[in-house]
Amino acid sequence: MRACVHRSQELRPGMSRWIAVTMFAVCAISIAATALCDDNLLVNGDLSQGSKDTPLVWRADTLIATAGSLQWIHPADAPGELRISNDGSNIAQWSQPVDLDRGWYLLTAEMRSDAKPANGVVLGIRIGGRTFGVSPGEGRAWSHVGAYFKLGDREEYDAKPEIVCQLSAKGAVSWRQIRLIKVAQEPASGRYAQIDVAQALAARSERKSIARPKRYALAAGAPWTVPFVMLLFAAIAVAGWVRLGRD
């Protein structure tokens, strides 16, 4: 009986090998398909990859090295997260450079923060020396935040854009599941804020360059009149000075 059972569960020779190959192929195709279909423009956006305390690709920066801390938390049974704590005297950020063309992009993440003030926490894009982004609402639970960004041509920016997770306020903040996707057309107003980075930078550039000359009427006066009138007033002043000094 036992042998019979054993025989009935026994596969034909070579079959197990086929199943193993098939399963491997299915897995490989699935992974490849997933990778090909994932439209996240960020590398390691789910924060699952890295070594020791350093997440793959993400860079940690602080204004003051000793104050506050930056951590990559990656438990086996939960999504990875980027965390910054700050005593309020520092500015710290995680960042990742990105290659972005003209168009609309949607940047989203899950955030939780107890930092005060709330606008000291930013998920956004740093470009042209400025950071554009969104801050979390109040509350320590994970919340989904995001914003659409409109970018201009690459040559309009003096440096490569960076996606930044920044804290300049007192407290702690975590980000996870960070995604940046390209949006085919201008988004309708709705869930996410819309930030026209191209327009903002163009406006700043225009403001910086205001120095348009405004011409005077054609110079018509005789040059000798200037020293003459100046000397006349100087003489009047000296006369007043001398006469007031008399006994």
Binding site: P117, S135, A200, Y216, A220, G221, L244, G245, R246
Partner: protein, 498 residues
């Protein structure tokens, strides 16, 4: 300033300086330095009329002409600072910040001489320090603080001249006064001329008093030659400095001679007549003392349409409690002048200081009534500067128990609308009743204590108002609700706060 109560203190002599004066002056200047230079580079972009001053400065650096209404002192100073520090916001504004800090110190020195009181001088310099319009303008590259500071130094020189017995010794103050008037006229078109006329008239008045021997009998004939000499010294110096400030226009060949300068003045005077009709930031002259229509200098460009995000703005608005109390103080000062109308000239000759404050306020204010062009609230600043002196005098008299009960009551009454607008009806009523009860008890016990009580409560309110409105003057970010709470006058039928 109190002609009627400080007979022992001769207004024609300099008051004694004490160590407390030194400490008060140093503290005020230190506070002004912090307030004016803190985050001076923010916002890092052109704000309001900086587009004119900074553009003109850039054109100077590029040797390009920039025809504008206002004379060149602010733009030339900015150009020099940009040449040294680079084209950056701190360089644009460091001139205003420095002069704004100087203004606080000069105001203390002037207050010491005009009010003859350390308390009064501290108050008047404190008002300049704690007023939003003076603060905001000290942190931006605009013309106002330039000409106001130069005028304030001219007033101080007038006080020094008047309080120097020897005319020969005092003429150096007249020379400095002339130079300062030239710089003031070189900073803002036409308006500082009122200050020039004012100080010249009061310098002449002091000469009349000196030459008359008795203050009861005017001897104009003896004083006239000295007055002519004084006008020559002051006027000649003023004109020399003012004309010299346009040297770059000649140097670069934009102007050929004095005729071009006259053409510029003529054109700008004519252009003033064309500025009629509506302007979104304009306000009527009668709205200024009550601060009904402040203006918006700058607001953070809202790239994202998220109402949860904090917002920042910088507003050309004053400290409402100080402004409203200035109205009460000026009414009190003018009422005293009217009461003395039969002996007005004798009173003026007896003590020039209160007349200087009242005439200065009215001269800079009334001049705008017939002007048809659209006007802005910052035109009120030179009049307000004299109003600060009247208010400081009122506080000084309250503190020393010399103010009437109605004056003390007026000082406390201006707090009521502020309490109503900031705390709501119920809380305002409770606080008002508590203050009124405490004041009544103080009056019942001792009139001097009541005066001190009114002064302290008022100054506490000024300090609270300063802290409350500071974000609107410096652009500190705030939530939309906090921001809305500070815009007291909004709604149909009201001249909205911008």
């Amino acid at each position: 300033m109190a002609a009627h109560s400080s007979a022992a203190r001769d207004p024609w002599r300099a008051p004694a300086w004490s160590r407390i004066d030194t400490i008060a002056l140093a503290s005020l200047v230190a506070a002004a330095t912090v307030l004016h230079f803190w985050h001076l580079g923010y916002p890092p972009e052109i704000v309001f009329d900086e587009k004119f001053t900074v553009s003109q400065a850039r054109c100077y650096l590029m040797h390009l002409p920039y025809r504008t209404t206002h004379p060149p002192v602010a733009a030339m100073t900015t150009a020099v600072l940009m040449w040294v520090l680079g084209d950056q916001p701190v360089a644009w504004r460091i001139g205003s910040a420095t002069l704004g800090t100087v203004l606080v110190g000069v105001t203390y020195l002037l207050g010491r001489r005009v009010l003859n009181s350390g308390v009064g001088a501290t108050c008047v310099a404190g008002f300049v320090l704690c007023d939003g319009l003076f603060l905001a303008d000290s942190r931006l590259c605009l013309w106002e603080i330039y000409y106001l500071t130069f005028l304030a130094v001219a007033y101080l020189m007038l006080a020094r001249f008047v309080q120097t017995p020897d005319v020969r010794e005092g003429r150096r103050y007249l020379a400095i006064m002339g130079a300062m008037l030239g710089l003031a006229l070189g900073s803002k078109f036409a308006l500082p001329a009122i200050g020039a006329i004012l100080v010249t008239v009061f310098a002449a008045l002091s000469l009349i008093v000196r030459m008359s021997g008795s203050r009861d009998k005017i001897d104009l004939r003896r004083a006239m030659p000295l007055i002519i000499d004084m006008v020559a010294l002051v006027g000649g110096t003023t004109a020399f400095v003012y004309l010299g400030l346009f040297f770059l226009n000649y140097w670069f060949g934009w102007w050929g001679g004095i005729e071009d300068h006259l053409t510029y003045v003529k054109q700008e005077l004519h252009s003033q007549t064309l500025m009629v009709g509506a302007h979104p930031y304009a306000s009527q002259w009668w709205t200024w003392p009550l601060m009904l229509r402040p203006l918006l200098y700058w607001f953070q460009t809202n790239f994202f349409n998220d109402p949860q995000m904090p917002t920042s703005s910088i507003r050309g608005m004053g400290n409402p409690i100080v402004w409203w109390a200035v109205v009460a103080a000026m009414v009190s000062a003018i009422a005293r002048a009217v009461a003395q109308r039969e002996n007005f000239l004798r009173e003026v000759l007896s003590d020039w200081r209160w007349a200087f404050v009242v005439v200065g306020y009215l001269a800079f204010y009334i001049v705008w009534i017939p002007v048809a062009r659209y006007k802005f609230i910052y035109y009120y600043m030179p009049a307000l500067y004299f109003g600060f002196f009247a208010l400081a005098d009122l506080l000084d008299r309250c503190w020393n128990g010399r103010a009437k009960t109605v004056e003390q009551g007026a000082l406390l009454a201006v707090l009521v609308p502020a309490l109503l607008l900031s705390f709501g009806v119920f809380a305002a009523m409770v606080i008002t009743i508590l203050i009124a009860a405490a004041y009544a008890i103080a009056t019942w016990r001792d009139a001097r204590v009541a005066g001190k009580f009114a002064s302290v409560i008022f100054l506490l309110a000024v300090g609270g108002s300063f802290v409350y409105f500071l974000p609107l003057w410096t652009g500190i970010p705030m939530s939309h609700s906090a921001f809305d709470a500070r815009l007291w006058f909004r709604g149909p039928g009201l001249p909205n706060w911008l």
